[in-house]
C-alpha cells in the first residue's frame, strides 16, 4: 500500500481459551496492510496471543460472561494493540523466567507470557484499571524503514 490511512479496528473476544487466535489473525492482517515483514508479524501474533491469554485466564478468570477487548490503532509507521479485561491488573511484573530453575523444579514452568511480550514487541505497558477493573496491556510495534 503506497499510502496508509490511520485507522482503528476493534474485536471483542469471549473469555474462552483458544479465542486469542481471532485476535492474532486480526493483528496479523492489519500488520500486513501496514507493510510489516513476516517475521515481525509472527512476533506480534505471539505477543498478542500471550496478552489475550493473560486477559482471558487471569484478568477475566475464564468467566464467559466477560469479554476481552482488543483495539488495534494502525498508522503508516506503527501498530498499537490494546488488550483490555475486567481484572485488577498486574501488581508487580514477574521476574524473568529462568530455565535452569524451571528444570530443577525451583520455578513454575509456566509464567513466561509477559517475558515473551516484552521481548517480541517494541513497547509493552501494563496499566491497572481504575476502581480495580478495566486493566489493559498496550503493545506497540514500529515499522523501521531502515531495516524493513
Amino acid at each position: 500500500m503506497s499510502e496508509f490511512k490511520s485507522t482503528t479496528v476493534e474485536v471483542r473476544l469471549p473469555s474462552r481459551m483458544g479465542y486469542e487466535k481471532v485476535a492474532m489473525s486480526t493483528a496479523a492482517a492489519v500488520a500486513k496492510l501496514i507493510g510489516f515483514r513476516e517475521d515481525r508479524i509472527e512476533d506480534l501474533k505471539t505477543a498478542v496471543a500471550e496478552a489475550c491469554i493473560n486477559a482471558i485466564e487471569h484478568g477475566n478468570r475464564l468467566n464467559e460472561n466477560l469479554s476481552v477487548g482488543v483495539v488495534l490503532n494502525a498508522s503508516a509507521h506503527s501498530l498499537e494493540v490494546k488488550v483490555t479485561d475486567d481484572g485488577k491488573g498486574m501488581a508487580t511484573q514477574p521476574a524473568k523466567p529462568d530455565i535452569d530453575r524451571k528444570m530443577h523444579g525451583q520455578e513454575d514452568p509456566r509464567g513466561m507470557g509477559m517475558f515473551l511480550i516484552h521481548a517480541l514487541v517494541d513497547e509493552a505497558e501494563w496499566v491497572a484499571g481504575a476502581d480495580g477493573k478495566g486493566s489493559y496491556v498496550r503493545l506497540v510495534i514500529r515499522l523501521d524503514k531502515d531495516t524493513e
Binding site: 474462552r16 481459551m17 512476533d43 491469554i53 529462568d98 530455565i99 524451571k102 514452568p109 515473551l116 521481548a119
Partner: protein, 119 residues
Amino acid sequence: MQSETRAHVDQLTTPAGDPVAVLRFEGDIASTSRNAVLGTYQALGKDAAKLILLDFTKVEYINSSGIALVIQLLMEAANAGQKVAAFGLSAHFTKVFTMVGIPKYASLFSAQAEALAAL
C-alpha cells in the same frame, strides 16, 4: 477453538544404530495439551529409549503454556537420564524457544536427519 494436539510415537535409530523414540506432535500446543505432550512421553515407560526426538514439523501454534509442557517433558527426561533434541520448529518458534533457554537442555534442528545424526 484450539486445534487439538495429536501425538504419536515412532521408533527410529541413529546412524550409529542407537534406538530413538520420536514423539511427533500435530496441531496446537497449549494448556490443553498435557495429555498429548506429557502423557505421550510418560507412556513410553521405563524401558524407553535413552534418546528422545521431538517432532514439531506439523505444529501450527505454541503458546507459553505449551512451552511450559515441553519444559516439564525435558525435566522428566533429564531425571530419567534421557537426551532430548527437537526439530521442525518454524523460524519464529525456534527464536521463541531460544529466548526462554530451551536449547540449553534440548538442541534444536531444522530437520529429522540432522537431529538423528546429532543425537
